[in-house]
């Protein structure tokens, strides 16, 4: 490991934290503009620090060597018990650099936007405190040099997400959504924790660098011996990822999480927190590559999620829910990439997705803001003229996510598709890829379809607004549209950071993160050799899928007409099934929710009260209760019975003495 100690990482982590503490402690007494300024400036400063650190990292010699070049900073001891050592130690390599630039950069834009969006809310200081705290937690997640510290960030973002989803806590539904998110996340966290324990048991360390050394120095016998447990641990880690990154089976919390303020949805539930799972898979790619079974599971789950969420997104009517399902679907794409051993593609899509999905969420926020809180797209329409900036930027976002040629999404999505086509052998079952690729194309088609359905329904056609919404209709202020334009430009140009290799141009992005994903790359290259011919075909197929989705959307929704309704009427069952999200929520409520309640009641009433407390004899509570009752019977307060017992005891003792058995 080529690491250089630096002093830049602590400020990067602590600046947002300081902002959070300041706003949390005294924000209530400050004017709103000042609390907003504290929040924005602390993130802005963190962004500058992240840039400086990235520059320093870029200048390091040997960044191409196998052991990734990185900046490190040890802050303090944290947990140090025998073999379990986890310090407050930060590690900044290429992947971290990208993640922290996204977190602080997009975070800064969203903070700016929030200052406009939330300016009327009485809890503004609290809001900025939470938002800063979130950035701090997310940074600790990506900066962690060991899995325990990573887990701290992992749980930390979950906690702040809970606070922010339930930000308007007076509404019981929003609180329920927040609790649901936290609990679903906790299921994932448990799996992650167990995965970490397993790794700790196998490798004897929780230090990521140490794990990397361990994984790369394993002998064949060791790998064979550890195979099952290693697969189990990577599977557990992946389950952890499905919780945080909203994949099947734990995705159910994300749509509900839209109860939070819209900028929060943009930052946490689109751009950063939900990508933590991808980050973890990339960060630990040296482990996942050793377990082909896990990789195929990841790929399949990712693709299934992408398809299912895309289908659900197609029929939702809440603008934010559509975007939420879109996020789930795009995350599925990223997992698909990670699953086919294309972590660079996953990472690239993560970045571009952060830009255009944040843009789309902020745009939807702008629409909601303009319509005084209206979120149902059936009561929108024709907003293109009224909200010029919003609609233009929204269109750019839609083009990017649909993979319109030369937008950011075009490059990143094609790289994923190429990975699916190319890396089929990594999955261990070549036949799988034959299924995966067409389905992935279909998912790309779905993406374009539902996104442009949203665009056309909201911004094109005739206005279907309520009177109340009409009366306040206005374009958002500059502090909100500014970030939109910045993100729009990024969505357009970010793709050029990762030009595909076959064009003969330099892929800066891939080159930059190559040291981190070297184990995977090494394997893939060693199996397949240099990239080969079918690339243009792949690009063509991907582009065609996107364009045809857009075209179909235009046909169905762009010109008005009754076609969608007729389609829905033609297959009522199917439509209801998709509209109701495949009844997964109900299924969970019925199985886990009810089962938990029933079990709890049964334990409480039957086991605890009846078996342990009442049916004492022979039951599990024999010792406590029966003996308690026995003694209780003796100690019934009857003085004379006590005396009798005392005499019996005395007689017994005297008898023993008289017998000469015991000498007093």
């Amino acid at each position: 490991m080529n690491t250089v100690a630096t002093g830049l990482l602590a400020p990067l982590l602590l600046l947002p934290l300081a902002g959070a503490v300041l706003n949390g402690a005294v924000g209530r007494f400050l004017p709103k503009s000042l609390s907003a300024a504290i929040g924005i400036l602390s993130i802005g400063a963190a962004f500058v620090v992240a840039l400086l650190a990235t520059l320093q990292l870029h200048g390091l010699p040997g960044a191409e060597a196998y052991g990734a070049a990185a900046l490190t900073q040890d802050l303090a001891e944290w947990i140090n018990v025998g073999p379990l050592v986890a310090s407050w130690a930060l590690h900044f390599d290429a992947v971290t650099a990208i993640m922290s630039l996204v977190i602080t950069g997009v975070g800064l834009l969203i903070h700016l936007y929030s200052a406009g969006y939330m300016h009327d809310d009485e809890g503004l200081a609290k809001y900025f405190a939470y938002l800063n705290l979130f950035v701090a937690a997310m940074l600790s997640l990506v900066l962690a040099d060991n899995l325990v510290l990573l887990f701290l960030g992992w749980e930390g973002v979950g906690l702040v997400s809970w606070l922010l989803i339930g930000f308007w806590y007076k509404d019981a539904e929003k609180v329920d959504a927040a609790n649901k998110a936290f609990i679903a996340n906790r299921v994932g966290d448990l799996a992650l924790m167990l995965g970490v324990f397993l790794l700790f048991g196998l490798a004897g360390t929780v230090h990521i660098g140490g794990l990397r050394d361990w994984a790369s120095h394993m002998s064949p016998e060791q790998l064979t011996a550890a195979g099952t447990l290693l697969t189990a641990s990577t599977l557990l880690l992946f389950i952890g990822c499905t919780g945080k990154s909203a994949q099947i089976p734990l995705y159910v919390w994300l749509p509900d999480a839209m109860a939070g303020p819209t900028p929060v949805s943009a930052l946490i539930h689109a751009a950063t927190m939900v990508t933590a799972g991808i980050y973890l898979m990339v960060r630990l790619n040296f482990l996942f590559i050793l377990t082909p079974f896990t990789l195929s599971v990841v790929a399949v789950i990712g693709l299934l999620t992408a398809l299912m969420a895309g289908a659900i997104g197609l029929v939702q009517n809440d603008i934010k829910k559509v975007l939420a399902y879109s996020t789930i679907s795009q995350l599925g794409f990223m997992f698909l990439a990670a699953g086919v051993a294309a972590p660079a593609a996953a990472m690239f899509h993560l970045v571009t997705h952060a830009f255009f999905k944040a843009l789309l969420f902020l745009g939807s926020g702008s629409v909601i803001h303009a319509l005084s809180g209206e979120q149902d797209i059936r009561r929108m329409g024709g907003l293109g003229q009224v909200l010029p900036s919003t609609s233009k930027t929204f269109l750019i976002g839609c083009l990017a996510i649909a993979g319109f040629p030369l937008t950011a999404g075009f490059f990143s999505k094609d790289e994923i598709l190429w990975g699916v086509l190319n890396n089929q052998q990594v999955l261990g079952s070549p036949g799988l890829s034959a299924v995966l690729f067409p389905l992935a194309l279909f998912a790309a088609f779905l993406t374009a379809l539902y996104m442009f359905r949203l665009y056309f329904t909201v911004f094109a056609g005739e206005q279907r607004l309520t009177d109340e919404a009409k009366s306040h209709l206005h374009e958002s202020p500059a502090i909100m549209t500014g970030p939109l334009w910045v993100l729009a430009i990024l969505s357009l140009v970010a793709g050029f950071a990762g030009l595909p290799h076959f064009t003969g141009l330099h892929n800066h992005f891939h080159h930059f993160i190559a040291p981190v994903i070297a184990p995977t790359e090494a394997l893939v290259r060693s199996v397949y050799g240099p990239e080969s011919g079918a690339i243009w075909g792949c690009v063509g197929a991907g582009t065609a899928a996107g364009l045809s989705g857009m075209g179909l959307a235009f046909v169905l929704w762009g010109r008005g007409g009754e076609t969608p309704a007729r389609l829905a009427a033609a297959w009522p069952r199917l439509h209801a099934l998709v509209l109701n999200k495949f009844y997964i929520d109900e299924l969970y409520a019925l199985t886990f929710g009810k089962a938990l309640q029933v079990k709890s009641r049964v334990y409480d009433l039957f086991v605890d009260n009846l078996v342990i407390d009442t049916v004492a004899v022979g039951g599990a509570g024999w010792l406590s209760t029966f003996s308690g009752q026995l003694i209780g019977r003796l100690q019934n307060g009857n003085l004379q019975r006590y005396i009798t017992i005392a005499f019996i005891g005395l007689a017994f003792v005297l008898f023993l003495i008289a017998r000469g058995g015991v000498t007093p």
């Binding site: 009857n638 004379q640 019975r641 005396i643 009798t644 005499f647 019996i648 005395l650 007689a651 005297l654 008898f655 003495i657 008289a658």
Partner: protein, 169 residues
Amino acid sequence: MNVEQVLFYLFAVGAIAGCSGVVLSRNPINSAVSLVAAFFFLAGNYVLLHANFMAIVQILVYAGAIMVLFLFVLMLLNQRDEELGPRTFSIAPLLGIFAAAVVSVTIGAGFMSYRNATANFPGEVPLSFGTAEQIGRSLMTTHLLPFELVSLLLLVGIVSAVVVAKRRL
């Protein structure tokens, strides 16, 4: 049988009779009066044992002070006759009686076996034995600490009796 023996048996029978009266009579006042009688007989036995001071104290404190207190309380509370025998059948008192009997027999047997029947009293008793003077000297010298503790105990007893009786429950 010399006089001493006659007196011992007399006092012994009297004491046992008096105590039995306590246990057997239904009226608590009768019990109390029987107990006073038993105390007198016991005091007689003390005299036989050359514990003259203790005999006096027995009569003054026990028969005089304590039992008067008992009687006073009994009169004050106006206790009616108690029905003897168990209200509901219970094995416990029977067991208790049995145990008490065992205790008694064992204690007796134990004492009997103590020093194997060489337990004759020493014939010569010093004149000063059991007198107020000897007791007093002993109390002020060897047994000063117990004496002080007893006085403290009595003080606490007085105070708490006052407190308890004063407080309304």
